[in-house]
């Protein structure tokens, strides 16, 4: 019996360690090949993606695609389990914040050369750096988005607040948001507290010529920068211009906890992807998009890959996998089917044809992207390992500032310690 247990244990460990069979054979197989393609997303995205995959199979009769999908968090737990268990899918949807985690561990194939090379000539040039790790293109963004400021124009006008315009400043924001809060007697705050969200902090940093991470993956800022940002946020919060702590503490990216959707705030920072024809209905009013405020005249926003497609290093059919990605990113027909389900198409030609047919909220975000497009920076390289932990700590530790348990300066020092630890671990 003991022998059996040990034999089993060994097989489990061997596979657990990723030594499983099925390594990257050459994909020159004759006859039909089957590849597996997984992604995250909601039901609407699933429906159109299935449709696009069918179209691909029709055009490439030698390739059969098995699909699978789940929502974001579930997807990444499943993906990690599959890869660790030696059963990685061939084509997978990858997130900007995870691409280095997976890439550094040898899980992803290079899409810039070799069998899995994909044509990227049509893709927004600022974007590809976001999928490049140490010179290797590990993910191709099918779509792009950028940071934006959403506000309720009616509420702002009623409160006599000056509407955001190109070149507005952070103090303009404070004044305007304060007016909105006052007008409603504090029931509807001018703006969602932006202090806990590292994404918005990043834009503010870039406006000062700094960046979240240096080229070698270290922190690109000091405790003083964090403290200054949290001080800025605290000024708005304590003056009543932004949302109170118990509202802000719930921010988790979901609409159910979004103060703008719940009408406890009239504006907030966000990304310009994810606008669907139903968005105004859910928000209960028509909103407008504006660029970030800036004190330096530099906008700081950049073209961000909302997500990317990658090929697993273990895939036995890298050429077929690359073909599928090529089709999903560059094919005009596929573009029409997929529409805005993953955001604004990154392929310029596809984007123009999709954009021309838009109406409602997606059209607003398309127009915004066209407006700020020329001012957008190059996407920074994917964040280093541990960046997810740093982002979570940023929000968690700001919670303490918000609830008055810690001053911005103290909290910033503590954050820096934790952040450095997370990056070195």
């Amino acid at each position: 019996m003991r022998v059996r247990i040990i034999a089993l244990l060994v097989s489990v460990l061997a596979a657990g360690a990723g030594c499983g069979s099925g390594g990257g054979g050459t994909g020159a197989a004759a006859g039909p090949v089957t590849i597996r393609f997984t992604w995250w997303g909601n039901a609407d995205r699933a429906a159109v993606t299935e449709q696009a995959v069918k179209l691909f199979e029709q055009k490439n009769t030698g390739i059969k695609v098995e699909t699978s999908f789940a929502e974001f968090n579930a997807y990444f737990q499943k993906l990690a389990t599959q890869i660790a268990g030696g059963a990685a899918p061939d084509v997978l949807q990858m997130d900007y914040r995870y691409v280095r985690e997976y890439g550094d561990r040898g899980v992803l194939a290079d899409l810039g050369s070799g069998q899995s090379k994909v044509d990227t000539s049509g893709v927004t040039p600022q974007l590809l750096s976001g999928g490049t790790v140490d010179g290797k293109l590990l993910g191709i963004p099918p779509t792009q988005n950028t940071q934006e400021f959403t506000y309720d124009p009616a509420a702002w006008q009623q409160a006599g607040a000056a509407a955001p315009r190109d070149g507005w400043t952070w103090s303009d924001l404070k004044t305007a948001a304060g007016k909105v809060s006052k007008q409603s007697g504090g029931k509807v705050r001018g703006v969602v507290d932006f202090g806990p969200i590292e994404d918005w902090y990043e834009v503010w940093l870039r406006q000062q010529g700094k960046s979240l991470y240096t080229a070698d993956g270290k922190l690109g800022y000091t405790a003083g920068d964090v403290a200054a940002w949290w001080q800025l946020a605290s000024d708005l919060r304590t003056s009543g211009a932004s949302t109170p702590p118990e509202v802000t503490a719930k921010l988790d990216g979901s609409q159910a906890n979004d103060p703008v959707a719940k009408k406890t705030a009239s504006a907030g920072f966000g990304y310009d992807s994810g606008f669907t024809p139903k968005t105004w209905e859910i928000y209960g009013r028509t909103l407008k998009l504006a660029p970030f405020p800036s004190d330096s005249g530099k906008l700081g926003q950049y073209a961000k890959p909302a997500m990317m497609f990658s090929v697993a290093q273990h895939s036995a059919h890298k050429d077929a996998a690359a073909k599928l990605i090529n089709f999903l990113v560059n094919d005009a027909q596929a573009g029409t089917v997929l529409g805005m389900s993953r955001g604004l198409p990154a392929n310029q030609q596809v984007r123009r044809s999709v954009g021309a047919a838009l109406t409602g909220p997606p059209q607003v975000s398309y127009a915004f992207e066209q407006q700020v497009g020329p001012k957008l920076d190059q996407a920074p390289p994917p964040p280093p390992k541990g960046a997810g932990t740093v982002k979570a700590a940023f929000q968690r530790i700001y919670d303490e500032v918000m609830f008055g348990r810690s001053s911005p300066q103290q909290a910033a020092e503590r954050f820096m310690t934790e952040a450095r630890q997370a990056l070195s671990a």
């Binding site: 089993l8 097989s11 489990v12 596979a15 657990g16 499983g20 597996r36 997984t38 995250w40 997303g41 909601n42 039901a43 609407d44 995205r45 699933a46 429906a47 993606t49 299935e50 449709q51 098995e66 699909t67 699978s68 999908f69 789940a70 929502e71 974001f72 968090n73 579930a74 737990q77 499943k78 389990t81 599959q82 660790a84 268990g85 030696g86 059963a87 988790d252 990216g253 979901s254 609409q255 159910a256 979004d258 959707a261 719940k262 009408k263 994810g274 606008f275 669907t276 139903k278 968005t279 209905e281 859910i282 928000y283 209960g284 909302a306 997500m307 389900s341």
Partner: protein, 278 residues
Amino acid sequence: MSRRIRRVLWHAACLALLAVLLYPVAWLVSASFKPAGEIVSSLRLLPGRVVFGNYADVFRGVGGISVWRFLTNSLIVSAGAVLGNVVSCSLAAYAFAWLRFRLRRPLFAFLLATIMLPVHVLLIPQYTIFQRLHMVDTFWPLILPKVLGTDAFFVFLIVQFMRALPSELGDAARIDGCGPVRAFAYVVLPLTRPALVTTAIFTFIWSWNDFLSQLIYLNSPDKYTLPLGLRLFMDETSQAAYGSMMAMSVLTLIPIALFFFAFQRLLVEGVTTTGMNG
């Protein structure tokens, strides 16, 4: 007279308690008839405007798969799990509760230890095993563990009930010349019915709601179950469809509510004391 008052008081107590406990459930059901914007922005119980579109959306299917497919798959998984669990757990429990063997104590301790380790660290090794058995993307990884009685909760549950049976039963069975197998089938099993029904009910409901293992082991969309379908409405990176999610939650609840209602009757008739008098 006083009996009647007591009955009225009893009903009043039950109903009052239920009113508090069921408020969230009522809100959930009511929310499934609200327009999406209202679900997010309003805390009120009753819908300001009643819509049926949420249900229409759900019945149109999720990602090209019909809700009936999810439902069928969930039923297969849950029914398989119930059968497996009731048989294998009662067998093991009988051995632990009524039979004597040398390794009883250490094995029972081990049985309990198996539920003390958080599932998340077992996930990958277990996945690897099923992967090697070529069972990934089938229902087997969801049913086989039940057939093999790996759910220590239920073994322990049935053990406790079997041990609570009056000891005279064992003596009587023995005097009548029953061997352990017949004593199990004709004496112990019938008397443990409440525990077996409980096992069946819980296994059904918990398998029905079990998101994690269904997520990990099922790949093809046409093998997806209701919980997997439900989660697709909640992707944090795209527009969440709260209305459809509420409607689908309600639809997911109905079969298990019916199952519970039908099976709890079997709990009603308790143990008669034939064993003791006979």
